[in-house]
Subunit: 269 residues, 3 copies
């Protein structure tokens, strides 16, 4: 259960404690991910080599793994990091970028899931559906499906792995076996900026560092993404300026903006 008060409290905790987030992510978004984490108040570090990922995860508060530009040496680095997070009981976010597009990506996701459940699994509808069925329905890395069409797949995965599943789309959903949080913030122009799903995964990591509930941390991250995306879009003339204003919005987000804009719904079944 999140509301404007809890979102704001979590945000203040990040700004005060500046948690170190270890990202093993894709080449496309490394810069924008690091900048988003800095803008929200966290401290990013990127390290991917098998030689050092376990050590870096040990230093960090949270591990975020994103398979957007995969290769075999990187999978080895990811596996070591995931094992280190599991053994140290540190939160770990998995973003299965492009799962379903190629066998290599789908196989890697299942290999990582086989090492232990992530704390949060976060992707778009196509990716979540692909992870569930292990069948290729993704076209590249953009979702070809509405987020609500992945709700059943997300709930099944949540039950199977015992972790909330965060599904981004026009409405963002965070689902566990029996609970659903729906966040209706955001702006269509966000889909014209690369890697905002990856940014959402990194912010999920930042909120996991300060919020003991994975479900709430995942939902809070999507709410902050959506609210800041709205603020940025209102100032922007296109996707170039949106990217810039989004970082400014993360940095400047205040209690009133959260209270005025948050659109969140809960459902328990």
């Amino acid at each position: 259960m999140i509301d404007a008060k809890t979102v704001w409290a979590d945000l203040e905790k990040i700004r005060q404690s500046s948690p170190l987030i270890h990202n093993i992510t894709n080449y496309v978004v490394m810069n924008s991910t690091a900048n988003a984490l800095l803008a929200i108040g966290a401290s990013p570090v990127m390290a991917h080599a098998e030689e050092e990922t376990a050590e870096m995860t040990a230093l960090a508060s949270v591990l975020v793994v994103n398979i957007g530009t995969l290769s075999t040496p990187w999978v080895a680095g990811m596996e070591r990091a995931v094992r280190a997070a599991r053994d140290a009981k540190k939160p770990y976010v998995l973003d299965p970028v492009g799962a379903g597009a190629t066998a290599f990506r789908t196989d890697t996701v299942h290999r990582l899931l086989g090492l232990g459940s992530p704390t949060v699994l976060r992707g778009n509808a196509s990716e979540i559906m692909s992870v569930h069925t292990s069948e290729g329905s993704t076209r590249g890395v953009d979702s070809t499906e509405q987020s609500d069409s992945a709700l059943e797949a997300g709930r099944a995965l949540a039950r199977q792995y015992g972790c909330p599943v965060s599904i981004s789309g026009a409405t963002d959903y965070v689902v566990s076996g029996g609970e659903t949080i729906a966040i209706s913030n955001g702006h269509p122009l966000m889909g014209r900026v690369t890697g905002l799903g990856c940014t959402a995964s990194a912010l999920t990591g930042a909120f996991l560092a300060v919020d003991p509930s994975p479900m709430d941390a995942a939902a809070t991250a999507m709410a902050v993404m959506g609210i800041c995306g709205e603020i940025a879009a209102e100032k922007s003339e296109g996707p170039g300026s949106l990217q810039m204003h989004l970082l400014d919005a993360f940095h400047n987000l205040d209690e009133k903006q959260v209270a005025n804009r948050l659109k969140v719904g809960h459902e328990t079944r």
Copy 2:
């Protein structure tokens, strides 16, 4: 033969069909390339590992290969993708970034060209001259030559490989054996932003997805680059703001801007 009407028609087709463009490109420009493709209305995907490039090319409408930050495993991934594009008769753009600067780059270009002709070969004057002579005349990745000095090299390569060659510079030229299209759009400040040549290659890929003429697709991409660069430069105080406004200009480019600004010339010999 391109004119304002054909440029606009192609642009509308990209925005309507959002073609998937598979990019194997360099680390420096991955983010800006993906953002440019999204801003123009296409859908980018990046994948480089030998394990998945053939599969990803099979999903995509067009393949774009850019050798800007090369290593041996990436060459293997590029080769698989080029073979997959060739076998499926999909358009394929080759950008020989830094050809002539090192033997590794020049050799890789010739190895890729040996697998089959690209649909469009696109580079700056130094690179095109280096690919033609196989002699090192490039200093790094910026051209040390004017684009018109590469016209003969471009025509020779066009005849040899049976594909148009697109040469960027103050004036951009697209040449085949007997035809030349010259585009005089653009702004000098564009040379102070990294990777705009790489963006031009990616947009060439996007236009190849909707235009059956490689010559016209290549010229249209350079025209859209130049026109949007002019619009962006007029709003910018330097290269930082140019980069932002360029993405906004791609997103907002309208029929009137194309008609008012397009500066294109044709020559047949």
Copy 3:
């Protein structure tokens, strides 16, 4: 000894000669580093593979090595480049990003230092202290220490390797065995943008191309970073806009801005 006149003279030399700077740097900052070098008037090239780094260093005026996202094949490429720079007596900057965070990073720094002294060693306080003690005190890549706490470590390293050590922080210090230059320019918001330390290393490379004194080149780079950071921060609403305005400020920096803003102190002991 630097002053407004020498800073301006060096800047003009960069803009006139556009020196080629070979960067082997991390994935996070490649784009922003290349853009910073272009904006200041230099010409960047990125190449990391063992197959070509020696050749690329031979073409360039200066080599900049940054270990921010390390892997074993990259270390091999770095070693070849450093040997090529040493043998050709070309200036070489080493930025030990995250030294102390993992054994792999600390070991790599010492392996590179073992090949020959860099012309300038540049890092934040935690990194410089870690290189000195070879003990891990870094938390990720952001400094946990004030820059003045690393002064003794910097002086010891400067004596050991016979090169100035440049330490970034609220006050930037460049130290040799007996001389200290302190630069008090800059703005706190710069710490919320990723990779500005890496940009400082790249600019150090650009100034080494035109200034025969490594000490002065290193201090001039920090002064230009700080001055442009102030100019950018005054126009910015957050870290997103700072990043954009910083590139514009590099491009537009004029003699008067340097004279009005430079805050530099010298101390000889």
